[in-house]
C-alpha cells in the first residue's frame, strides 16, 4: 500500500491505495468523480482523459502513484456548476451540462465553450466518449486557437466515438474554437456539411 495525495479539481484527496491503482480508478472510486469514463482500459478509446498538471493523459494508462502530488482536472472541473452532483443521467449531464439550457454559450460560471458547443451542435449521442473528447479538445484548442477541420480530427485521433461519426464533434470543436477566439457564435447550431469547410 502506498499513500497518494492528489488535488482533484481543486480539492485535496488523499488515500492509502494499492500500488496497482490506476489514476482512472483513483478519480472514479477514491475521489468519487464518475464523469471520467472507463472505456477500454488499454489507452485506445480516450474516454478516460483527464488533465495532470495541465497536460491531458489517458488516466487508464497511468498509475496513481506516478502522479502523486499532481493537480488533476476532470470533466467535472471544467466549470464550477458541474461540481454539483448528478441526480439523473441525461444527454445534458453526459455533456457535463447539469441544468437545462437553451442555446447555451460558454461563460466562466456556466460552461466551458467546448461543452457549450457540444450541446449546441448535438455532438453527444450516447455520451460515453464525451468527457474524453471535451478534455482533449479543450487542451488542444487552448494551444491551437485556429485549427482546420483536419487538425481537429488529428487532435481527437486517440478518442473513439461509435455513435456520431465524428461530424458533429468536429462541428462543435470548430464552433468552440471560434468562441474561444472571442468571436460570436450563432444561437443555433451550424452544421458543416462537408469536411472541406
Amino acid at each position: 500500500m502506498q499513500k497518494v495525495c492528489l488535488t482533484v479539481n481543486g480539492r485535496e484527496v488523499s488515500a492509502e491505495i494499492d500500488e496497482r491503482t490506476l489514476l482512472l480508478e483513483f478519480v472514479r472510486d477514491v475521489a468519487g468523480l464518475t464523469g471520467t469514463h472507463n472505456g477500454c482500459l488499454e489507452a485506445r478509446c480516450g474516454c478516460c482523459v483527464v488533465e495532470v498538471d495541465g497536460d491531458v493523459v489517458k488516466s487508464c494508462n497511468v498509475l496513481a502513484v506516478q502522479v502523486d502530488g499532481a493537480e488533476i482536472t476532470t470533466i467535472e472541473g471544467l466549470a464550477p456548476q458541474r461540481l454539483a452532483p448528478v441526480d439523473q443521467i441525461t444527454t445534458q449531464s453526459l455533456a457535463g451540462v447539469y441544468r437545462p439550457v437553451e442555446a447555451v454559450r460558454g461563460t466562466p460560471e456556466d460552461l466551458h465553450p467546448v461543452q457549450a458547443a457540444f450541446h449546441r451542435c448535438h455532438a453527444v449521442q450516447c455520451g460515453f466518449c464525451t468527457p474524453g473528447m471535451v478534455m482533449v479538445l479543450k487542451d488542444y484548442l487552448e494551444e491551437n486557437p485556429e485549427p482546420t477541420r483536419d487538425d481537429v480530427r488529428r487532435a481527437i485521433a486517440g478518442n473513439l466515438c461509435r455513435c456520431t461519426g465524428y461530424q458533429h464533434i468536429v462541428d462543435a470543436a470548430m464552433e468552440a474554437a471560434a468562441e474561444m477566439r472571442g468571436e460570436r457564435v450563432p444561437d443555433r447550431p451550424t452544421h458543416g456539411s462537408t469536411d472541406g469547410a
Binding site: 500500488e19 489507452a43 493523459v57 494508462n61 497511468v62 506516478q66 482533449v136 485521433a157
Partner: protein, 278 residues
C-alpha cells in the same frame, strides 16, 4: 496486473543501485505507456518498479559544444514536439509529434520507446536512421552504444539488468544535410506497419557523399541498407527490399515488401530533391 513495490529514486545512481538490489524482477518505468499495457495484460509482472519521474536530469534537451544534441531518455514526446531544434535535428520534433495521440504523447518518452524496442515504433527507426548514440549508466559505470547495436531483437535491447538508458545523442548537424522520415499506418494513432529513414550528406558541390537508408517495422530491428550515395529512389528501393529479406509469399509479407519499396523510394527521392541543409 501483478502486485509490485513502487520505488522512486532521486538520482540515476540510486536507481541503478535499486535495480541491482532487486535483481531480475525489477523494471524501470518512465512514462509507462508501453510497460503498463503489458503489465495489465500480464505479459510482464515486475516485482519492483523503479520510477524515473523524480530524476530531473533525465528529461530535457541540451546541445554539446560540437553540436551533438543530447536528449534525456525521459523526455516526453510532447516536450520533443515543442522543442525548437536546428536543421535536420528538427525531424525529431516532427516524428515525435506525429505518433500515437495527444494524451499518450504527454506521457510517452523517447527512452521508453527505445527500451521497449518494438519494431513498429518510430523512435528506434529514427535513432538508427540518423546513427544516434545511446548513453547508458550502470553499476559498472557509463557506456555508449550506437542505436543499431542497442536494439538486439524485437523487444530486446543490449541493456544489462542494472543499467539505465540515460540519453539519446543525435550527431552534430554537419553529419547530415537532409533527413527524411516516412511511415505507413492505417489509422493516425496506430504504430507503423513499416517506416523508412533516409539521411543524406552532400559534398561541397552538392554531390551526394553518403546515403544512409534505414527500414523499420518489417524486420525485428531497424535494418540499415547499404547503397551507393548516388542511388536514386528506385534503385534504393530495390536494395532495401533485398536487404530486409521478406521472402515469404503470404499476403502480409507481400504487403510489407510493397510498403518498404514505396517508402524507401519516397524518402530517397525526397532527400535528393531537397536543396541545401534541412
Amino acid at each position: 496486473m501483478r502486485p509490485f513495490t513502487w520505488l522512486t529514486p532521486e538520482t540515476t545512481e540510486e536507481a541503478v543501485a535499486l535495480l541491482r538490489a532487486h535483481g531480475e524482477g525489477a523494471r524501470v518505468i518512465a512514462g509507462g505507456q508501453t510497460l503498463l499495457l503489458a503489465m495489465k495484460e500480464r505479459l510482464v509482472g515486475p516485482s519492483h518498479l523503479v520510477s524515473l519521474a523524480r530524476i530531473t536530469d533525465l528529461a530535457g534537451i541540451t546541445t554539446e559544444p560540437d553540436g551533438a544534441l543530447v536528449v534525456g531518455a525521459a523526455t516526453t514526446y510532447a516536450a520533443l514536439t515543442r522543442a525548437e531544434l536546428p536543421g535536420w535535428q528538427r525531424r525529431l520534433s516532427e516524428v515525435a509529434g506525429d505518433l500515437a495521440d495527444r494524451p499518450v504523447r504527454n506521457r510517452g518518452t523517447i527512452g521508453g520507446a527505445l527500451c521497449a524496442a518494438d519494431p513498429r515504433f518510430d523512435m528506434p527507426a529514427f535513432a538508427v536512421g540518423v546513427d544516434a548514440e545511446l548513453r547508458i549508466s550502470g553499476a559498472a559505470g557509463e557506456r555508449a552504444l550506437p542505436a543499431h547495436e542497442f536494439l538486439v531483437d524485437a523487444g530486446r535491447t543490449a541493456l544489462g539488468q542494472d543499467e539505465i538508458l540515460t540519453a539519446v545523442v543525435l550527431p552534430p548537424l554537419p553529419t547530415w544535410d537532409v533527413v527524411v522520415f516516412e511511415k505507413f499506418r492505417h489509422r493516425v494513432f496506430d504504430a507503423a506497419i513499416a517506416s523508412a529513414v533516409c539521411a543524406l550528406r552532400r559534398e561541397d558541390h552538392g554531390v551526394p557523399a553518403s546515403l544512409r537508408i534505414t527500414v523499420a517495422g518489417a524486420t525485428p530491428t531497424p535494418t540499415v541498407v547499404l547503397v551507393d550515395a548516388a542511388a536514386d529512389g528506385a534503385a534504393a528501393a530495390e536494395s532495401a527490399v533485398a536487404a530486409v529479406r521478406l521472402d515469404s509469399s503470404d499476403e502480409a509479407t507481400r504487403y510489407r515488401r510493397e510498403l518498404v519499396h514505396t517508402l524507401v523510394r519516397r524518402v530517397v527521392d525526397r532527400a535528393h530533391a531537397q536543396q541545401g541543409s534541412v
